[in-house]
């Protein structure tokens, strides 16, 4: 099958980038947002105005808040929403789900597809699901206005996996024409452990919490905020993450290897083993400022849907994650959010009670049953 029509769920930075990119490349884009206010400007403008890697005014075939209209006739459903919204998407898609309706979660971060499918189960869909995820968003992009987006570049070497993994070939065949940069990984466990944001964003946020609040984030987050001490904590998070992955037989590379592969630092800095140095020598990140407040996806997403599932996998594997646990707990205290309860737990990934040895089979088959 070839994908002609894509239901894009989400009209934020990534959703608009996908709508413009795919629309200009000839796909029929069926754009869905929860709120009318996100869509009205597009209707008025006659589409999405894109700049950067793509240029022009791209009409959108359909812009709707009605999920069934968006999905009706789509060959692929693509979630381009913050991780926190995956469960909501599962809830509204559950009544519309079919075994032959492919769903791409772009990005899935850590455990995105597992959480989405478990969400479908909890909402009454018990048939087979055919999903896949990318580890990070396929675009480097930023909204320029209510109906405009700049696509700076496509992410290179984008890790991609299907859930269940036995659908890998089918999902790859569907998605590769859309995103030629994807690189297939063994399973969503492998893409999930390759989440680099969860390694350094939360330490950076926590250990600069005072600075961010006092100055509304008026400092270069990576170049100045990831100091040697912050880098040491991120390094410890990374060691714990790798120890969990190793215990579960999931292939995973050190943070710095992934950071270098993503083109975000110099080979010399990556070789030094020093995350702080690698961030200070990150040309693409050089001028990026800290978030204006702590209430930001670097916390919500990278703690609740990054560190929390890392720790959950640690529990499953019987591997202690004291540094990750400390960050989750202290972030919870300063944010007034119980991340360990509200984030992506083993229960929410459908993995509660699973034996560590059964995880690989679950990732392959999508079920723990023989």
């Amino acid at each position: 099958m070839t994908v002609r029509s894509v239901a894009v769920l989400g009209a934020g930075h990534g959703g608009l980038a996908a709508a413009a990119d795919l629309g200009q490349r000839g796909y029929e884009v069926r754009l869905h947002a929860r709120r009318e206010e996100a869509l009205e400007p597009l209707r008025q403008a006659g589409g999405v105005t894109v700049e950067g890697a793509r240029r022009g005014l791209v009409p959108v075939a359909l812009a709707t808040t009605e999920i069934d209209r968006a999905v009706d006739g789509a060959d692929l459903v693509m979630l381009v929403v913050p991780s926190l919204a995956h469960r909501y998407c599962a809830k509204v898609l559950a009544p519309l789900m079919r075994p032959d309706l492919p769903v791409l979660i772009n990005p899935g971060h850590t455990g995105g597809a597992l959480g989405f499918v478990q969400g479908l189960r909890e909402c009454g869909y018990d048939g087979p699901a055919m999903t896949a995820e990318t580890v990070t968003l396929s675009y480097i992009c930023r909204k320029t206005g209510p109906a405009g987006v700049a696509i700076f570049s496509y992410v290179k070497n984008l890790k991609f996996a299907a859930f269940p993994a036995r659908m890998s070939r089918d999902m790859l065949e569907l998605v590769r024409p859309i995103y030629p940069e994807i690189v297939p990984a063994g399973s969503v466990l492998e893409t999930g452990f390759a989440n680099i944001n969860a390694v350094f964003h939360p330490p950076g946020m926590l250990m600069n919490a005072g600075w961010i609040e006092d100055t509304a984030g008026d400092f270069p987050f990576y170049r100045e905020g990831i100091t040697p001490a912050v880098g040491r904590v991120a390094g410890e998070v990374d060691r714990e993450r790798l120890a969990v992955a190793r215990a579960l037989d999931v292939p995973s590379a050190p943070f710095l290897e992934n950071f270098l592969a993503a083109g975000l630092t110099t080979p010399a800095a990556a070789r030094s083993g020093d995350i702080s140095l690698a961030c200070r020598q990150s040309e693409p990140n050089r001028t990026i400022k800290a978030p204006p407040r702590l209430d930001h996806r670097y916390m919500h997403e990278d703690v609740g849907y990054g560190l929390v599932p890392f720790a959950a996998f640690g529990d499953l594997a019987g591997v202690a994650t004291p540094t990750i646990d400390a960050i989750v707990h202290l972030a919870s205290e300063i944010m007034g959010i119980d991340f360990a309860r509200d984030g992506l737990t083993l229960e929410r990934m459908g993995l509660a009670g699973l034996a560590p040895g059964a995880l690989a089979r679950f990732a392959l088959e999508g079920t723990a049953d023989g």
Partner: protein, 369 residues
Amino acid sequence: MAEPIRRIAIFGAGAGGTAAAAHLSTLGFAISLYSEDGAALEPLSAIGGIRYTAPFGDGFAAIGCITGDAGEAMHGADLVMIVSPAHLHEKWVSAAAPHLGAEQVLLISPGHTLLLIPHVLREHGVRRPVFCETATLPYLCRRIEPDKVRISRVSDYMVFGAFPGRETARLHRLVATVYPSVQPFANVLETVFPYGNAIHHPPATLLNAGRIEATGGDFRHYYDGITPAVGRLIDAVDRERLAVAAALGARTMPFVELFWRMGYTTDAAYATGLAYEAFHQSEPDKWIMAPKSLDHRYLLEDVPYGHLIYSELGRLAGVATPTIDHVIHLAGVVLGRDFRAEGLTLARMGFGDITRAAFLGLLEDGFDE
């Protein structure tokens, strides 16, 4: 001992020790000053005392005896006062122990090392150790020149307790003749809880670690650094500390109340009960800058001799202290140290396996022999 206190031996020639020497000298006490740090004593010996600038005036306080010999300093003293960081308590008490007479009052200011001092005294053959302590240093002070100390404030509220607890009333009467602001609490468990620095320094430093390193501490530690989120973490630490104290039956008060009682913040801030407001409305602390680096007593002392004690007492009391424990862990990662191994645990006080009941009994009654 019915005699009033006349002669005081001060151990420690840092800011706190020299502030005490200057202040108590102006009050008419005969002072001797001991330190094993010859370099710290030399400028004082050269002029025979210490220069000071203080709320009670500016001037020069002559010190009769400035010495590197603990026995000489203690000879004839009615009160031996140790003024040092907690990690030096073992060393100073070891230096004092061989010379300590039964009639001499041993005051640690600030103390808050719980049973460490009786343990060290016992190791030096003092079978039934007695001492007293304040929870905080009596002064807000700084050594501004090698022979000059600046005292910004003399504390008007100090929590005071003795070991064993049944000695508190007697020792309080004596020490109050020197420091009228001491408030008698039950015992040295009740002096360990109201040590403010141990409550707020580790969380505030950890949540500003990036800024401290990136700017060399070029911001106001309390006024700029303790934002609402940082305040929430301090409040969380404080709730755990209060829960541990309550479980051990120790009388203490919320940090914000303590801070207010010590005269550091406004009535309005006190009314909110929030650490953020307490610091943001603190006039005395407003202009204090952050540490220049993370290698600083805010972590090096207040984690292993502050947070860790609360965690240890929580374990003894069966009260979970997750926030405190996570701060200890992250501070260790930040500085590459194992604070649980090097800090003040019950085991290091000689009571690794003590039960809650035996611990509370010991605090009140001391050693039998």
